[in-house]
Symmetry: C2
Subunit: 377 residues, 2 copies
């Protein structure tokens, strides 16, 4: 190692060990030495193939991108040679010329110091799936609502055909340096309703989800319910969920007796904090709905420590249906939202809009949620 390595690791504060690898082996993948071209970067270009074959570059280009507009023999020859020489098209050059990138820009929110949330990950999974199927690549830009993290704010232009904003408000999107792109590219918002900004939005029916949860509890005979709220400022998720909760209570005349506990965020510790508030309540609700699974689980953990039984003393329902919610003790009754489907459908709609096959209007599409019954309620 050269001397430059030290400051790196000083900055990163890590203890580390160097080991020598078993050297002497050669790189596994790569071009063979006798390949032609390799002018600038060592890469084979269309011009190299053309020279090798005594053809015009335009013919080689056609053979690669539009095989049907070229002699079958020529196509075969070019294809073989391209493979032999290890040619891969330069994405930059092709996109610059055609004006199409076959790339989607995804703005994914993250809190400072926290990784992308599991819910967003599921949406991303749907995006990757559908984008891969359609031959699109994915450019990810983390956006930080708080502006604390060193997110990349460098404005980007020309590198994508469309934008997906996950759970993002207008400010969040701007913070990602995407404003300029938004003015020119089709855009869809997932998980958050932004139709008031004329942005097509594909969301889970969060209000219906909380309605379903409250309905389930009320049918079980609960009359005093609590809702553990999420953050009001950053996201748009708390409001519709609380509304759905209240709507169902109102229908049974139970609205007056309900308790709204401010959790603060969507994470476990917000749930434990909410539990502290709950435990201090003189007249405790018998059923609680958390704004997220993590909040519900943090809440359960804390009230179990205080000697309360779930669901016997307090029934608890979450929202998200994360993978581990089926394996906790008690396993968590929760509202499942079609996150992966939202990712897939949003990607499909956007790609179709990019190619002009679909007219993406600033409308709201709502996907249904459903209750997953387990042990906690």
């Amino acid at each position: 190692m050269n001397g430059n390595s030290a400051p790196l690791f000083n900055d990163l504060g890590g203890i580390y060990h160097w080991q020598n690898s078993n050297s002497g082996r050669t790189q596994v993948m790569g071009n063979t030495e006798d390949d032609v071209g390799a002018a600038r970067s060592g890469r084979v270009r269309i011009a190299d193939i053309a020279r090798e074959l005594g053809l015009n570059p335009s013919t080689v280009s056609r053979a690669i991108s539009n095989p049907n507009r070229v002699n079958p023999e020529t196509h075969k020859l070019v294809a073989q040679t391209a493979r032999r020489m290890g040619y891969t098209a330069n994405h930059l050059a092709r996109s610059l010329r055609t004006g199409r990138t076959n790339t989607l820009l995804v703005a994914a929110p993250s809190q400072p110091g926290l990784p992308i949330s599991p819910v967003v990950i599921d949406v991303l999974h749907g995006i990757f799936f559908e984008a891969g199927r359609m031959g699109y690549s994915v450019f990810i830009r983390e956006t930080d609502p708080s502006g604390m993290a060193p997110t990349n704010r460098r404005p980007l232009s020309g590198l994508a055909d469309g934008i997906i904003s996950i759970s993002g408000t207008a400010e969040i999107i701007q913070s990602g340096g995407l404003a300029a792109e938004m003015a020119h590219l089709p855009l869809i918002s997932l998980l958050t309703d932004q139709t008031q900004l004329n942005i097509p939005s594909l969301i889970a029916d969060e209000a219906a989800g909380l309605y379903q949860a409250a309905d389930y509890l009320i049918r079980q005979g609960h009359v005093k319910l609590a809702y553990i709220a999420g953050p009001l400022d950053i996201s748009e998720h708390d409001r519709p969920r609380y509304q759905g909760f209240c709507r169902r209570l109102e229908e049974s005349g139970l609205l007056d007796g309900h308790v709204r506990i401010e959790g603060g965020s969507y994470d476990f510790s917000s749930g434990t904090r909410a539990a502290e508030t709950f435990l201090d309540l003189p007249d405790k609700p018998t059923a609680v709905i958390g704004v997220s699974d993590a909040v519900a689980l943090g809440f359960i953990r804390r009230i179990k420590d205080a000697g309360l039984r779930v669901p016997e003393d307090v029934a608890v329902i979450g929202y998200d249906d994360l993978a581990y919610s089926a394996y906790t003790s008690p396993s968590l009754t929760t509202i499942s939202q079609p996150t992966v489907e939202i990712g897939k459908a949003g990607t499909r709609l956007l790609i179709d809009a990019c190619s002009g096959r679909f007219d993406l209007k600033p409308q709201l599409i709502t996907m249904p949620t459903h209750l997953v019954r387990r042990e906690s309620a």
Copy 2:
């Protein structure tokens, strides 16, 4: 909506509702109408600014990219005009010309039908953090070891300055269509030792982690230990962990009595399956280490249902220290590995290698793990 929408949703199998947005409002962000240029895509180019100012495009370019090589007055004028006209540099054109993209390509593994794992997410978080700090963007390509998912295999060229492979084997990387890029770009492997392929690798000391876990249990007096294994074929993670486990047992002469239970994968259900095997064991170990937190939690959940107490009857330790492992009942004693730091350090090393500031050799860097003591052991 036009008629094209129906087949979309047939494919996606979703029930959905359209709502009309409150229309009539105008787009929030965008160029004002009297801006110049807008030849092809509606975007402002350097040529537009130059025309507006009566300058040569090269001067405008310099003013934007190299302010110090231009008259301060000119710089100011260009900067103002660029802002007013809403100019953002075309990333494609710039990169094509300079040969530098300021972009990193990340190959992230995913199992078919499953989203990216929490561990990989943490590494990605570190990558985003450090890349953002250094002004780099991140291109993500999901790679599918099984080849089942419709991952994007289109070969990409020219769009990144370096490649990060997370927890990937050579085959996995190839499946992502990255072989050609690998031959030309600096590459680093995170979480998986690939130095045998001459690829610099930055990993957690998994062997030491399992050694620490076994050590902790043995010091508590346990003499019969079990290890729930992960998959052998796909990943390289099981082997070093099992080795570390065995090494510590051997030191105390306990190796002969140990049990290795095949879990199958890293997820919860693998843990519950392993628990079934465990419950059938005539002479049960009193302490169990899972290859992952999810496996350990799935295991705990199942043996609790069978009437065993954790840690009184069976002590359980996991590996990963995921966020929710602190909130389960019992909370999980586990091995923490510096995933975020690995992401940050790997990104830093790679970027410095891209810019020639650092000579990235095919060596192995190992980051330390540590035991997090909670309730389960």
